[in-house]
Amino acid sequence: MKITEKEVNYVAALANLALSGEETQRMARDLDEILGHMATLNELDTTGVEPMTQVLYEAGETATLREDEPRAVLGSQTAVANAPAAGSGYFKVPKVIER
């Protein structure tokens, strides 16, 4: 397997990540090496092995249920306090749809 710069660009687009030309070259090399190592898993027969999707321990079925009681929330002013652009308790972003 050889990771091409085209593939790097495709994945970077999926990840919403801008990469410079130099970063793209370097990324192709790094991904190639690391994915090459990951291929060692192919040696292993995992037929019939349940995937471990969670690390969970025994607890009663209703253990996580609680009374539905109102409680204090952050509030929109606090929630947007760290946003680079906000107004009237909302996040502001550039135009999504151009007309």
């Binding site: 999707t53 690390v55 946003a83 550039p94």
Partner: protein, 484 residues
């Protein structure tokens, strides 16, 4: 400072409790002295990113008031601690050592943080780490690397390098870190302190900035096993804000520190002692002789799927990271790329400018292994392999009470030594990632020094929720080593 003849840097939790009760010093006096010392010494390691003097002094005042009123000030009363900068602190900047969050001031406290303060601990500040906890050397911080207090030319380990360094340096008595693949144990071993990764779910992760959610743990650093046990006891327990936190009651870990390890079965997994000999391993093997002398029954065991752990870990961890880091997009918490005209450009540029090289690499790897056509071959395969790795441990704990291994194949390496080779950096996590994959408790306890004076740690692993057994063994070893 006459109240602290040996300096604030060497105090234990017990000494602080005694000092407060015998009125040798007040919590406010200790907090002021500790802050002054930590700020003066910080340039040697760059361990702290932010100090929170006001908050520290306010907690200390509360402790003094409780003491004066004859109320219980808590098991950590007045203890100066540090918190890794991936745990959110209300009103105190929390950066995750990322440019993106350089000015992020959280509106709430992580549960582990509020529990520490409720137990009386005085938080001095937030510690440096690898960006979003991704790294094994603390060189991936946007605010400069942390230096190892034992040798400033060497790394402190990572990703919780700052939390390990400040405890080793004496600029905090104990600290909190996070561990996803060894990020507590490896820096603990590199800096010569005790570091504990508890059972998955033992400590609430509410307010821990997520890296890989099926692997993330919060845990303590301290200079002694006793202090680590007191710290864990204070932060452990079910928290309804974290659905993955465990219901199991929290025992009094300090009760387990009775030195009684006679007949305890200790397993040495042969896969962790294979390959060409190295100094770290020889030191750990010497420590195993001490365990034998204490009456432990040492036997060889096998964890046959160990060799697949690195690949398994870096698939699962990066896949989860790519999802968790999607939220840093210039909308809610982070700075925003200035020149972006459209929404999608804003996402791409903000993330491209903001993330460091290692975060980008992991986002890319994670996105790749989850992408269409590769999911089964990588992610699903890794989850199946993870089940086998976890099963290895379950089977081993049918035979033995605890497992002992090296923490790292080598001691602290030089700054820059592995920075250009990501795969080599990943391989250095070989002994620590298995515990995270299985979700079992594990810790690093100092067990010696190399010929050039670098600390080496011994890893102790135990079965799910047997932190008490793990502490018992580590404490008995620590005491025996001290008596030599």
């Amino acid at each position: 400072m006459t109240a602290f003849p040996a300096g604030v840097g060497a105090l234990t939790i017990q000494q602080i409790q005694d000092g407060l009760r015998s009125k040798q010093f007040s919590a406010v006096e200790l907090a002021s002295a500790a802050l002054q010392f930590a700020e003066a010494e910080n340039s040697k390691t760059n361990g702290y990113l932010t100090f929170c003097a006001e908050r520290a002094l306010s907690t200390a005042r509360t402790v003094d008031e409780r003491l004066a009123a004859g109320n219980d000030p808590g098991p950590l009363a007045g203890v100066p601690v540090a918190v890794k900068d991936v745990l959110v602190t209300k009103g105190v900047r929390t950066t995750c050592a990322s440019r993106l969050l350089a000015n992020y001031v959280p509106p709430y406290d992580a549960t582990a943080v509020s529990k520490l303060e409720r137990a009386g601990a005085v938080i001095l500040g937030k510690t440096n780490c690898d960006e979003f906890a991704m790294g094994s050397s603390n060189e991936n911080s946007a605010f400069g690397p942390v230096r190892n207090p034992h040798d400033p030319e060497r790394v402190p380990g990572g990703s919780s390098g700052g939390s390990a360094a400040v405890v080793a340096q004496g600029t905090a008595v104990a600290s909190l870190g996070s561990d996803t693949g060894g990020s507590i144990r490896q820096p603990a071993s590199f800096c010569g302190v005790t570091g504990v990764t508890p059972t998955y779910g033992r400590v609430s992760r509410y307010g821990l900035v997520a890296f890989a959610s099926s692997l993330d743990h919060v845990g303590p650093f301290a200079r002694t096993v006793h202090d680590a046990a007191v710290m864990l006891e204070a932060i452990a327990g079910r928290d309804e804000m974290d659905a993955t936190s465990a219901f199991a009651p929290v025992p009094r870990y300090t009760d387990a520190l009775d030195g009684n390890v006679k007949g305890l079965k200790v397993g040495l997994p042969r896969e962790y002692f294979e390959g060409p000999s190295n100094e770290s391993r020889e030191i750990v093997l010497k420590a195993v002789e001490t365990l034998r002398a204490l009456g432990c029954e040492v036997r060889e065991i096998s964890l046959p799927h160990t060799r697949y752990a690195i690949a398994t870990y870096y698939i699962i961890a990066t896949a989860e990271a790519s999802s968790n880091l999607a939220r840093y997009d210039g909308v809610r918490y982070t700075s925003r790329a200035k020149e972006a005209g459209t929404l999608s450009e804003m996402y791409r540029l903000t993330r491209g400018e903001g993330f460091g090289a290692e975060c980008k690499r992991r986002i890319m790897l994670g996105t790749y292994v989850l992408s269409h056509g590769y999911y089964d071959a990588y992610y699903l395969k890794a989850q199946r392999t993870r089940a086998l790795i976890a099963r290895d441990f379950t089977q081993a704990f049918g035979e033995v009470d605890a497992i002992v291994t090296p923490v790292s194949p080598f001691p602290a390496f030089r700054l820059g030594e592995k920075l250009d080779d990501p795969m080599e950096m990943y391989l250095s996590d070989v002994y620590t990632i298995t515990g995270d994959l299985a979700g079992i408790p594990c810790m690093s306890v100092p067990c010696g020094e190399t010929a050039s004076g670098l600390p080496v740690g011994m890893q102790v692993l135990a079965k799910h929720f047997d932190e008490a057994g793990m502490f018992r063994l580590a404490h008995a070893y620590e005491r025996a080593r001290g008596m030599k």
